[in-house]
Amino acid sequence: MKQIGRVIYEGRAEGVALVSSSPLSFYGGVNPDTGEVVERGHELKGQSVKGKVLVFPYGKGSTVGSYVLYRLAKNGAAPAAIVNLRCETIVAVGAIISEIPCVDMIDIGKIRSGMEVTVEGNTVQA
């Protein structure tokens, strides 16, 4: 199934989907060295974003979260791509400075964890 969204950071990436139906905070919510989600009570807690096509509605929390994405990228633990329902400042800035392909305005309810996903420009193929 192919969906057309809006490019936040242009690029091509493939990976296995990791989907969260709830917003994600990178600052304090994701370990910047390993990519493991550590936020207490979060549905992805214990899973790693490393190399995944990370799918979630939008970011939340501190704007320092943008730098956490950058750190993940430097450590080779960043997601391969980010797919959002509605991207906001934290994730957009994080994706741009870390050069992680990012697309939003996608119906994320149609993507399930474990699916093989390709992101290319404004297109998400699941």
């Binding site: 730098y67 400042t89 800035v93």
Partner: protein
């Protein structure tokens, strides 16, 4: 979004890597928030200066930008995690200090003024009414929009820096007149006597108004200290970036008929104070969140004349205000008492929790909020009581 030829060149990388990154950030934000175009800004206040918040990731990013990036407009900095000169006396570890100084060095290479204060408007970054600016630091954002009438969104560290490196910001949100109207009327039905009353009231109201724009009625007078306390409190418990005070703030001549309203009574003020107090006897006293004005420093000096502090007392202010205090003769009195000026930093962004303190007395609702998040206990009291608390010990 429409870009001028010059902006297109920046985006294409013709003015270097850092400018290109900055322009990519602004274009993406413009897209997300439906901005028609970019607008030139007259000044930038950058948040994200303390190494405690930035971490190695932030430091690496700043160092990368500093290779070929340069500020195009007046750019000032938020407080750092320590005094840049007297960090040893503050008990800061050398590992932290080294990283913090590397952060400052990167900002210096980027052309920022190393002001390290949350009150840029008291340290030479003074925008005029109606000017577009791009400021981080939530309390300064609320102050600039509300009290000065300059126009800024609540920028994060990277987006403020992007504005600095390009001299522009996307035209949306509070840059547009139509988005600066009140969303909630607050009738103040009690006398707010001290800046601390404004702080407590702001903290209480911020939780109710969230990221809306409150319009206060019933406040007959408020000076700089009251306005800066209110700005900080509203922005820390809520996401407030702007407020109006009837008859006192420059954009308060608006029609509020039909706007939702609520009352703030003496009972609410009492409750606001009590939610900011934990159990325990203070072992550390810190004032100046936001950084002290000269008037506040004068009050502290008056109270400390011929006194000795028994608990550590931090007077947080900008280097500019400290210079004025030196000239006026206040600094000598304060230092003779054993109290310390905390320049370039404050109780919120310095790693206080690692300095062995447990219960902090302060006159700032914002400081209470963040110190609690860092695991400390807080006592909220007026400035005068804070100083007395430090001298009497217990």
């Amino acid at each position: 979004m429409y870009l001028t030829d010059e902006e297109e060149d920046m985006l294409a990388g013709e003015e270097g890597h850092a400018t290109q990154k900055a322009m990519q950030i602004l274009v993406a934000l413009g897209k997300i928030y439906d901005a028609e175009r970019l607008v030139k800004v007259s000044s930038v206040q950058v948040s994200g200066v303390s190494y405690k918040n930035l971490g190695d990731a932030g430091l690496e990013f700043l160092s990368e930008l500093a290779r070929d990036g340069k500020a195009r407009v007046k750019t000032t900095l938020n407080p750092a995690g320590m005094s840049l000169t007297d960090w040893q006396a503050q008990g800061i570890e050398s590992g932290f200090a080294e990283k913090q100084l590397a952060v400052i060095d990167a900002y210096d290479r980027l052309g920022a003024e190393i002001t390290c204060t949350c009150t840029p408007y008291l340290a030479g970054n003074e925008p005029a009414y109606g000017e577009h600016i791009a400021w981080g630091e939530s309390s300064a954002v609320a102050y600039a929009n509300s009290v000065i009438g300059a126009r800024t969104n609540r920028e994060g560290g990277p987006s403020a820096l992007a504005a600095s490196l390009t001299g522009r910001t996307p035209l949306y949100g509070l840059h547009l007149i139509e988005n600066r109207k009140p969303t909630l009327v607050v009738d103040i039905q009690t006398l707010l006597r001290f800046p601390e009353d404004f702080s407590a009231m702001g903290y209480f109201v911020g939780r109710l108004v969230k990221d809306g724009i409150p319009y206060f009625r019933g406040i007959t007078s408020a000076g700089l200290e009251e306005m800066k306390s209110l700005s900080a409190a509203l922005a820390s418990s809520g996401g407030v970036a702007m407020f109006h005070v009837e008859g006192l703030t420059p954009e308060s001549r608006v029609d509020v008929a039909g706007t939702e309203s609520l009352s703030f009574t003496s009972r609410d003020l009492g409750e606001a104070g009590s939610i900011l107090n934990d159990e325990g006897s203070p072992d550390f006293v810190a004032v100046g969140c936001p950084h002290c004005s000269l008037k506040e420093v004068a009050t502290i000096a008056e109270l400390l004349e011929d006194q000795k502090v028994k608990h550590e007392l931090w007077v947080c202010c900008s280097r500019e205000v400290k210079r004025q205090s030196d000239k006026a003769g206040y600094s000598g009195i304060i230092e003779k008492s054993g109290a310390k000026f905390a320049l370039d930093t404050c109780m919120v962004v310095a790693p206080i929790e690692e300095l062995g303190h447990r219960v902090v007395a302060t006159n700032s609702a914002k400081a209470c909020h963040y110190l609690r998040n860092a695991g400390l206990k807080v006592r909220f009291m007026p400035l005068e009581e804070c100083v007395v608390e430090a001298t009497k010990g217990s």
